[in-house]
Symmetry: C2
Amino acid sequence: MKIENKLSKLREIMKKENIDGYYINGTDPHNSENVCPRWKTRAFISDFTGSAGSVLVTSDKAYLWVDSRYYIQSDQQTKDSEFIVMKLEKDNTPTPTVFINQMFEKDSRIGFSKDTLMIDEKKQFQKDCKNVEIVVTEDFLNEVWEDRALIPENGVVEMDVNLTGFSRGQKLNMIRIYLGEKKADYAFIASLDDIAWTLSLRGSDIDYTPVFIAYLLVTKEKAYLFTSDKRFDKDLLEKVKKDVEIYPYEEVVSKLGEIIEKDKTLLINEKKVNTLFEKVIKDLNITIVDELEVTTRLKACKNETELDGMRRAHLLDGVAMVNFLATLDFDKGEYSELSLVDKIEVQRLRNKECLGLSFNTISGFKENGAICHYSVSEESSKVVKANGLLVLDSGGCYESGTTDITRTLLFGEASEEEIRDYTLVLKGHIALALQSFPQGTKGHHLDILARQFLWNYGQTYFHGTGHGVGHRLNVHEGPQKISQVVNDYPLQKGMVLSDEPGIYKEGRHGIRIENLIAVQNNVKTEFGQFLNFEILTICPYELRLIDIALLNDIELQYINSYHNWVYEELKDLVDKEALDYLKKATLRITK
Amino acid sequence: MKIENKLSKLREIMKKENIDGYYINGTDPHNSENVCPRWKTRAFISDFTGSAGSVLVTSDKAYLWVDSRYYIQSDQQTKDSEFIVMKLEKDNTPTPTVFINQMFEKDSRIGFSKDTLMIDEKKQFQKDCKNVEIVVTEDFLNEVWEDRALIPENGVVEMDVNLTGFSRGQKLNMIRIYLGEKKADYAFIASLDDIAWTLSLRGSDIDYTPVFIAYLLVTKEKAYLFTSDKRFDKDLLEKVKKDVEIYPYEEVVSKLGEIIEKDKTLLINEKKVNTLFEKVIKDLNITIVDELEVTTRLKACKNETELDGMRRAHLLDGVAMVNFLATLDFDKGEYSELSLVDKIEVQRLRNKECLGLSFNTISGFKENGAICHYSVSEESSKVVKANGLLVLDSGGCYESGTTDITRTLLFGEASEEEIRDYTLVLKGHIALALQSFPQGTKGHHLDILARQFLWNYGQTYFHGTGHGVGHRLNVHEGPQKISQVVNDYPLQKGMVLSDEPGIYKEGRHGIRIENLIAVQNNVKTEFGQFLNFEILTICPYELRLIDIALLNDIELQYINSYHNWVYEELKDLVDKEALDYLKKATLRITK
């Protein structure tokens, strides 16, 4: 169906329901970052396929808000439709709430689908848009979207306690201990990766995201999982039922009304729980404690078993990366961005422990590498050959853990500017990796370590330096984060993060270097407990892009000892034909 | 009067007024950091003379809260009284609000003196102490404190526009322009350094703080200053009256009631305006815009004239420091902490442009240097001679600006640990000084630069890295700050800050190195405008405490070029006898 037809159908419904503006936030009922086809509402209504953005449709206009990552892509994808692209952080573009409050007449009715509007988001709109009425509606797209996908019911698998460290029962008990500490009666969890982690189950409802659509209620004695029981094979169903009662996903609201007693206290994260639940909370006179899910904090700090799994996943991933790199002819070879995406995927999948990719591989050559979240397609795929830089950001989901690695590859010869930029990015990447820090340190304290050298050359990058990574789970996981934005959660032992500074020069080249790192205990002194990072990723940097003159002794020593470690870890595991490459790529460098 | 008698008198009044707890925050009606004798209430009631802390007196207990800077001092000063010292950030000590809310019976009445309780502080107590009633009272100490000092009326002087850059009229107009921008009718300013800056006047009501006790109201056409007109000589009074009407300090509340019209909008900073003003605000149905004073932001960004003045003050201060250092015999000399305080003061006051000290000199030898805010007294003053480190933190108030410098001096020989620690502190000090950063960067982003090397050795310091400094005004000035604590105000061109990392090893030694630095424009690139620091302080570091092996080339180059600059700036200005010292202290070092 054409965009104009979709919009016109939507506007008919809006008119019938007396709605002046319909807001589509593009998420699912669990406020997931990635969503399954049923909730790709933003893409359905606007053709814009980016991972973030919001849509507002009025009786005669259609707006799409995007951030700087998607300025170019959104222009391209909306060029034949009536969508007006609102570029945030540019030309004083108002945010959706400011826009809605200013542009609508007083008491206009702005509609939001009840199952994808989070309680917190609703409050935010109500606070910021005092001029208008926030109306929680049915999902109007149901009537517009003829062949809309159903809620998926893909099979789930169990992760053995050998891989998770704690059993399902132990993790449910951790939640119950926390209920006691908080003097609360129930924890209601809507966040999909939290549910998967708690229950040691993994699904495949969403691409690259091994979760399954469900809700979880934990009481002091019991646990209730709301999801289709068709997902389980018979044995697993029996096993899981020992720890949780299972009810259909669609019955969650009515069932909560039966299970939860009046006047009790409920832990929820209002950023992740949608307005479907408001009525039952109100009817039961529930006291809400609105905070980050306790499971999000527990999950963030990987236990020793999970860390061992992450280490194994990174070993296998290093083998795949080096086998891949060794097949490339960087001087005379000719590839395409897409063919390289296929090649690295093939190498990862050679190992049966690799269950798939952890995200859509980014492969951007020359000026495409300067597009920070570039998504290569048949149309955009450039020829890759001498001379130029390729940003290759990829990862695998392994049985034992998740990987995410970026290497910047050099085809042919590099310019002086490219070598200097690579070295500055690498220096920042190293400074963060080597830093020790006292307990209580937060991501926003550390972030500058990765930027300092670029800043001294008048350069910077407009993304965070590090995101949290899940254990055989989402490649983006909170609350840990290293960025300029204030983050309230201190870095703690066991947290896994990326260390990925970069530089993006529009129309010229992009560079990004990314390892995963895990927070570990360092020394304890008269000044308290210090932490530092263990490096998980095992893959050489590009020696031909390093200007040794810009390195100090500590950096030089780090590169040599990292490369020595990479060589020793991989030398007996990579293909025989890859050994020469590995040796050369990890050669000792000196001033 | 003995503490027990004071407390017993206070308790009589509390009983009469039906007050269960009386809270003394130790500030003045303007929430000044330093206060004049009349408002040294904390010291009066408890004998504790530290610069921060709060007191709670109940019918049978007396509590004093202090932070880590004052753990030792507060113990000493309260050891003969009934005061219980509450050490914040230690042993889970509750903050005053938590303590008050938990320890009193429901609906207990907690009293606060109306003229020193800020509106914001009152709201905070009301929010955090829901269990009790917050009662705004008369100042009970008036009846206890027999010889209580009056409000000072010391003379004020005017700073010429040659020194301030902008005239009084221009600065008042800047406020009026801001009133227009904010669609507000009045700005009411209670902050004493803001008033002094706005009016280009300086006073001497508070030690080391060239302000005068006053309030200022700025309307769209007029300005009203509430202070004693006895402060002005005849000519100055005439001159100042062209810009502001002057009324007695005591009449401020009633006069505001006359000047301010009903239903208007008033800018105030509720952190600096006390509860005396609540009634008039309410009676007039005033709309309050509660925010940082616009003058605080204007004042923070020094103009070129002010910066030139700061540079001159630092030149004169460098001369004084080097003349002082040159007189010391670091090998065989014997001094006392106090005698060194006198010696550096004498050197500063030799220059007639030096009007006095900018704060009470800190002179701490060996283990006394490890007490972060050590205040030397006749009793505590240690003999200073070989071997040991002396932390000397001092500054002058010059006609053209304010200085604040710390140098760590070595008497005799240093231990390996002292040399390593000094070098690590210096490396951090240098890293911050040399950093370039994009517009929008905040102090909490930069702070780690000064800590990174210490952290890698399991060491840290428990104070901020940099505070703002005023122009011939307070040596502590906001909103700029470089610390781990989140600060919402980006660093901007013209801001002056200190760069003062340190290390404090209890019972052993302390080290601090401090220069003042000014934010200046650096390059503008495709990534935006970058800023960096100009160094203001002109005084050698201690070469004998530097381990050159720990320095990288950039640090080595910085030290040499800084020392070369120090030498060139000072060589024609210091005493002839000091030239040898200066030459030796600024010698080029190499690996």
